[in-house]
């Protein structure tokens, strides 16, 4: 790295806020910290926390002065830095949690994150330098008309999960508001149970209510099964009957089977 002649080596003096940081946008707090470390040419394994924190906070001030929004993540990092700084003031003592005499440097996790982040930033530069389709290299993305035909109706589609969910999200966004309830994971497992129960009832005259709860006996399973039964009743897809008080409840399908 070429030292910037305008910048004093290391840290000019304690009360200087004149530490000029370029106003280029940083991707996030880690990006900014790495920039400060490189600019000051300090060892990443031995970061002078007090000085770097000060410059970091100066930068946040500068952003505010320029009326730039300081994202929450920058503030979280600021408090992390201050916390590390105060821990550094305490004498390093062996970690009471472990038996050995290893001393945990308060900066260790931050250093690891910075190194890791730097590595992925390097990886992104490698990606950017590749021959990118539609920027550096071009291919034919069309078929000649004689091959560009509709796939037969029974062909397997090529879609991924995200497209499916995103399509549902779009529908709900424009659907009448009263028409849906929150689709959470519990509802989905109810859907699973509904499908299972219908399958179980298929071709049977009637079954005992308890039979529907045979399976993995987790609380989640029982709740889902129960809600599935309620939902099926509401949809009038099953009928419940009881012949005596406190007697067995029988469940039968109220679905007219399609002739196969």
């Amino acid at each position: 790295m070429i030292p910037d002649p305008d910048q004093n080596p290391l840290f000019p003096n304690d009360d200087s806020t004149a530490c000029l940081v370029s106003t280029e946008a940083f991707e996030g707090p880690l990006d900014l910290l790495l920039h400060l470390i490189k600019k000051n040419e300090v060892d990443i394994y031995n970061i002078p926390i007090a000085a770097i924190s000060r410059q970091y906070l100066d930068y946040l001030d500068l952003m505010r002065e320029l009326n730039l929004d300081v994202a929450g993540e920058f503030l979280v990092m600021a408090s992390t830095l201050i916390q590390i700084k105060s821990q550094m003031l305490l004498p390093l003592s062996p970690d009471p949690e472990t038996d050995d005499d290893q001393v945990q440097d308060p900066r260790a996790e931050l250093v690891r994150r910075l190194l890791e982040y730097d590595r992925y930033r390097e990886a992104s530069a490698l990606l950017a330098a590749r021959e990118i389709l539609d920027r550096d290299v071009f291919a034919r993305k069309f078929l000649p008309p004689e091959l560009d035909i509709e796939a037969p109706d029974d062909a397997l589609p090529e879609i991924d999960l995200f497209e499916l969910v995103d399509a549902f999200r779009r529908i709900l966004a424009k659907a009448p508001k009263d028409s849906f309830h929150e689709v959470g994971s519990e509802n989905i497992s109810i859907a699973d149970r509904i499908a299972d129960i219908l399958l179980y009832l298929e071709g049977k005259e009637s079954v005992e209510f308890e039979e529907l709860f045979i399976g993995t006996n987790t609380r989640e399973f029982i709740v889902a099964s129960f809600l599935a039964v309620l939902e099926l009743c509401k949809l009038r897809m099953i009928k419940l009957s009881q012949f005596e008080n406190y007697g067995s409840i029988f469940v039968r399908s109220a679905i007219i089977q399609e002739a196969a």
Partner: protein, 195 residues
């Protein structure tokens, strides 16, 4: 003109990536630093090369423009490709499939209420693809059919069970989290790259 790039290469690659025949006029307007005659020669030279080297494609003049086409003798082989073209899914099929996946068991009326349009044709095609099935009929007046997804549906999306479908909330969290989609700042002169 750069040293190791020939006009012939430029012309070849431009015709190669274009999805319709390119006229000489258009080529000349794209490559304005070259003479029309030079470009014409490059085309002639490419045409001759394709023949001389026994290539599988040839440069032909169709509808007033130049285009690479596979040699007619190879048509039998090319046609075999047809069978392997994967099906594309229309947005409306996707919508309908999504509704069935998340709201099953569901009737056609409910699907159409959500989508706001007739969905009979799409249901038919999803049934043909075996992605959905008729679970049965609802025992209410009109006896509407009830739809659900199939085992093939799970396989298509590599789903262990329906509970592994991402929840709507998870997708909404992505969509809502700020407007920091990767909007690239506008380049000043419209040509420069970001990196």
């Amino acid at each position: 003109m750069m040293s190791d790039i020939s006009l012939k290469q430029i012309v070849e690659s431009i015709i190669f990536v274009t999805d319709s025949p390119l006229t000489l006029d258009r080529l000349c307007s794209i490559l304005e630093e070259f003479e029309r005659e030079e470009i014409r020669e490059a085309i002639a030279s490419i045409t001759a090369d394709c023949r001389a080297n026994g290539r599988g494609v040839e440069l032909v003049l169709v509808a007033g423009g130049y285009q690479f086409r596979s040699r007619p003798e190879l048509a039998d082989y090319i046609r075999r490709l047809k069978r392997v073209k994967p099906a594309r899914f229309s947005p409306s099929s996707l919508e309908t499939l999504a509704i069935i996946a998340y709201r099953q068991p569901v009737t056609r009326a409910e699907i159409e209420y959500l989508r706001g349009v007739d969905s009979g044709g799409i249901l038919k095609s999803l049934l043909d693809k075996k992605l959905i099935r008729i679970i049965g009929k609802k025992d209410i007046p009109g006896k509407p059919l009830i739809y659900g997804t199939t085992r093939e549906f799970m396989e298509t999306f590599s789903l262990k069970d329906l509970a592994s479908l991402p929840t709507l909330r998870e997708i909404e969290e992505l969509a809502d989290s700020g407007d920091d989609t990767d909007q690239v700042p506008l380049p000043l002169d419209g040509t420069d790259e970001l990196f």
